[in-house]
C-alpha cells in the first residue's frame, strides 16, 4: 500500500469517527415532519426568486371538465392539507415513487368542512414532479408550485375559482408592504438584500391574485424569521428566530396585522432542530410557545414551553427539558383548549396534557387524534391513512376523510 493509500485509509477512519448518527427518534420525527419542512423550503426559495424574476406574461389555461365527486384516492397518496375557513379546504395529494422521488400530484377540494371532497383537474396532471406545494389564499383562490421531475423546472399556477380553471403566474413580483389581512396566509418573503448578497428574509403574504409577494408593513427584527402560517385564535401573527440585535432566540408577536412587532428573547435549551420547530397557539388571550429539537444530538422531542398573558410582551418559561426529560418525538403543534389545558401529541408516548399553565405534564385523559396543525379553520389532526379530524376548541373533534 502506498503512502497516499495509507493516508486515505487513515482519513477515512478519522472522518467516520467524527460522524455521529443522531438518535433514531430524530429520524422518525423528521419523517413525520417532512411535508411541512418541504413547504418551508419551497416558500423560502420562492421568496428569494421573487426579488429577481420578472413576472412572465400570463396565459389562461383551458377550462377543464370536472370529474365526478368522491373520487378514489390511491392508498399510497400523502396530502398537504389546508383550510381557508371552517368550510373551505384544499388537499394537494402526492403519490411518489421511491427511491426516484418522482410524484404524481392531484388536487382535492371541499366546501363543507371536509365531509365531501371533489377532485380537481390540474393542467399537465399526468406529468411527474419532484415537488408540489399548495398555498390556499382564501376560500376560492389557491396557488400551486410544481417542480418537474426531469428538468427541475419550476412552474406556478393559480386559480380564482376553487381549482376549476388555472392560469400560469410568475414567481411572485415584489409588491409594496401592506397590512396583513386577518385571514392571510403567512410566508417568508424576501424584503431586501442580505450582507452576503443573498436574500434578507422577512414575513409577508401573497396578493389575492397570487401574483405578488406582499411584505408586512413592519418586519420582526429576526434573522430568517420562522412565521406561523396563519393568525392565532386571537388574531395575532408570530415569528421566531435569532434576534439581530442580541443574537439570541426570540419570539416576535404582532397584534395589529403586522404594523408593529413585540420581540422578546427567550432562553432555549439544546438545539431547535428543524425549521418548523416553533409553534405559538392562543386561547382566551393566553399564548403558548413550544419548541422542539434535541439536546446534544439526543432524543428529538419537546424542548421548552413558554407562556404569555400580555400578548407576547413577556414570556415565562414554564417547562424545560433536560437530556433525561425530553418529552420524546413530540410532533406538530400544541393545542390550547377552551377549558384551559395545553395538549402536546407524541407519536412515541401518546398525548400529554398540562392543567397548570404548561408547568407540568401528565398523560392525557383524552388522546388527540394525531399530529396537529393550526389552520384558519381550526385545529386539524392527522389520523391514519387519509383520515383527519378538526376542532375549533381543542376538545371536541370531528373526523373526516379525503376522498
Amino acid at each position: 500500500m502506498s503512502d497516499l493509500d495509507t493516508m486515505l485509509t487513515g482519513l477515512r477512519d478519522e472522518l467516520r469517527s467524527t460522524i455521529t448518527p443522531p438518535d433514531l427518534a430524530h429520524v422518525a420525527g423528521r419523517a413525520r415532519q417532512r411535508t411541512v419542512r418541504r413547504r418551508m423550503q419551497v416558500g423560502a426559495v420562492a421568496a428569494v426568486v421573487a426579488v429577481s424574476v420578472a413576472v412572465p406574461v400570463l396565459r389562461s389555461l383551458p377550462e377543464a371538465a370536472q370529474p365526478p365527486a368522491q373520487p378514489p384516492v390511491p392508498s399510497t397518496m400523502t396530502f398537504q392539507l389546508d383550510f381557508a375557513d371552517a368550510d373551505h379546504a384544499y388537499a394537494l395529494g402526492s403519490d411518489c415513487e421511491e427511491p426516484e422521488g418522482t410524484c404524481t400530484l392531484e388536487l382535492f377540494a371541499t366546501a363543507d368542512g371536509g365531509r365531501n371532497w371533489e377532485k380537481r383537474t390540474l393542467p399537465d396532471g399526468d406529468e411527474k414532479y419532484a415537488l408540489g406545494d399548495l398555498t390556499v389564499l382564501d376560500a376560492d383562490r389557491l396557488v400551486i408550485y410544481r417542480v418537474s421531475a426531469g428538468d427541475e423546472e419550476w412552474r406556478r399556477i393559480a386559480s380564482d375559482d376553487s381549482g376549476r380553471t388555472w392560469r400560469d403566474v410568475g414567481m411572485g413580483e415584489m409588491g409594496a408592504p401592506a397590512p396583513l389581512s386577518e385571514d392571510a396566509w403567512i410566508q417568508q418573503v424576501c424584503v431586501g438584500e442580505a450582507e452576503d448578497g443573498g436574500c434578507r428574509l422577512g414575513v409577508g403574504t401573497m396578493s389575492p391574485d397570487g401574483e405578488k409577494v406582499v411584505p408586512a408593513p413592519a418586519q420582526p427584527p429576526l434573522v430568517e424569521p420562522l412565521a406561523g402560517s396563519s393568525a392565532t385564535e386571537g388574531g395575532r401573527f408570530w415569528a421566531a428566530g435569532i434576534d439581530r440585535a442580541t443574537g439570541r432566540w426570540a419570539i416576535s408577536v404582532s397584534s395589529d396585522l403586522g404594523s408593529t412587532w413585540t420581540t422578546t428573547p427567550v432562553d432555549v435549551p439544546g438545539e431547535p432542530a428543524m425549521t418548523d420547530a416553533w409553534a405559538v397557539v392562543e386561547n382566551d388571550g393566553v399564548l403558548y410557545t413550544t419548541l422542539q429539537g434535541s439536546i446534544a444530538k439526543g432524543p428529538f422531542g419537546l424542548l421548552a414551553v413558554f407562556r404569555s398573558t400580555d400578548g407576547g410582551r413577556t414570556w415565562t418559561n414554564t417547562w424545560r427539558a433536560t437530556p433525561d426529560t425530553v418529552l420524546q418525538a413530540m410532533l406538530g403543534i400544541p393545542v390550547a383548549t377552551d377549558d384551559g389545558r395545553l395538549l402536546v401529541y407524541s407519536a412515541a408516548t401518546g398525548t400529554y396534557e398540562s392543567s397548570d399553565g404548561g408547568r407540568t405534564f401528565a398523560k392525557a385523559r383524552q388522546q388527540l387524534p394525531g399530529e396537529v396543525m393550526w389552520t384558519r379553520g381550526g385545529y386539524v389532526a392527522k389520523r391514519a391513512n387519509h383520515g383527519y379530524a378538526i376542532s375549533t376548541d381543542g376538545v371536541d373533534w370531528r373526523t373526516f376523510e379525503i376522498g
Binding site: 493516508m7 460522524i19 423528521r30 419523517a31 426568486v49 421511491e98 426516484e100 427541475e152
Partner: protein
C-alpha cells in the same frame, strides 16, 4: 426481525458511509449529514417497502444521490438568479488532526475529482458504483481517480517541501 430493530441496524450500519457518499457529491460535510438524515426520514416512512429490496443501503444511496443532485440544481438555479458566484466549500467542519493536509488537498480538487476520491476512498464504493452514482462511464471514473491521485501526491509533496 422486528421492523424497528431492522431499521435501527440499517441506520447504525450505513449512516456514516452514506454521509461520506453525500460528502463526495456536495463537498460539504454539514450538508452531507443533512441529506443523509433526509434520506433516512424518507426510508423510515417506507421501511416496509425498503426492507423488501435487495439492498436497502443501495436504495438509500440512490435517494441520497438524487437529493444531492436536486440540491445542486436548485442551488445553481438560485446562484444564477442572484448572480452569485459558486461558493467555496465551507471551511473544515471537522478538524482532523492527523490528516488535515490530505483533507485540505482533497477539498482543493475540482468537484469532479473530489467526488471520485471521496466516493471511492472515503465512502468505500467500488469504481462501478462510483460511476453509477456520478452517472459517468467507468473509464472516466478510473481516469479521474488516476489524475486525482497524481494531483493529491503533488499537493502533499509541495506542502512537505514548504515546511
Amino acid at each position: 426481525m422486528a421492523e424497528e430493530t431492522w431499521f435501527a441496524q440499517l441506520y447504525q450500519g450505513s449512516y456514516r458511509r452514506l454521509v461520506l457518499t453525500a460528502y463526495g457529491m456536495t463537498g460539504d460535510l454539514g450538508a452531507a449529514e443533512e441529506l443523509t438524515q433526509e434520506a433516512f426520514a424518507i426510508a423510515y416512512g417506507k421501511r416496509a417497502k425498503v426492507s423488501r429490496t435487495d439492498s436497502p443501503e443501495a436504495w438509500l444511496r440512490t435517494v441520497v444521490v438524487n437529493l444531492a443532485r436536486r440540491r445542486y440544481r436548485r442551488k445553481t438555479t438560485l446562484d444564477r438568479i442572484l448572480r452569485r458566484h459558486e461558493a467555496e466549500p465551507p471551511p473544515g467542519e471537522a478538524p482532523l488532526s492527523e490528516h488535515l493536509d490530505l483533507h485540505e488537498a482533497i477539498r482543493g480538487l475540482g468537484p469532479e475529482y473530489r467526488a471520485v476520491v471521496v466516493l471511492h476512498y472515503l465512502a468505500d464504493l467500488p469504481v462501478d458504483e462510483v460511476a453509477a452514482v456520478l452517472d459517468a462511464p467507468v473509464g472516466t471514473v478510473k481516469s479521474r481517480l488516476s489524475r486525482a491521485r497524481a494531483a493529491l501526491a503533488e499537493r502533499l509533496r509541495t506542502e512537505v517541501d514548504h515546511v
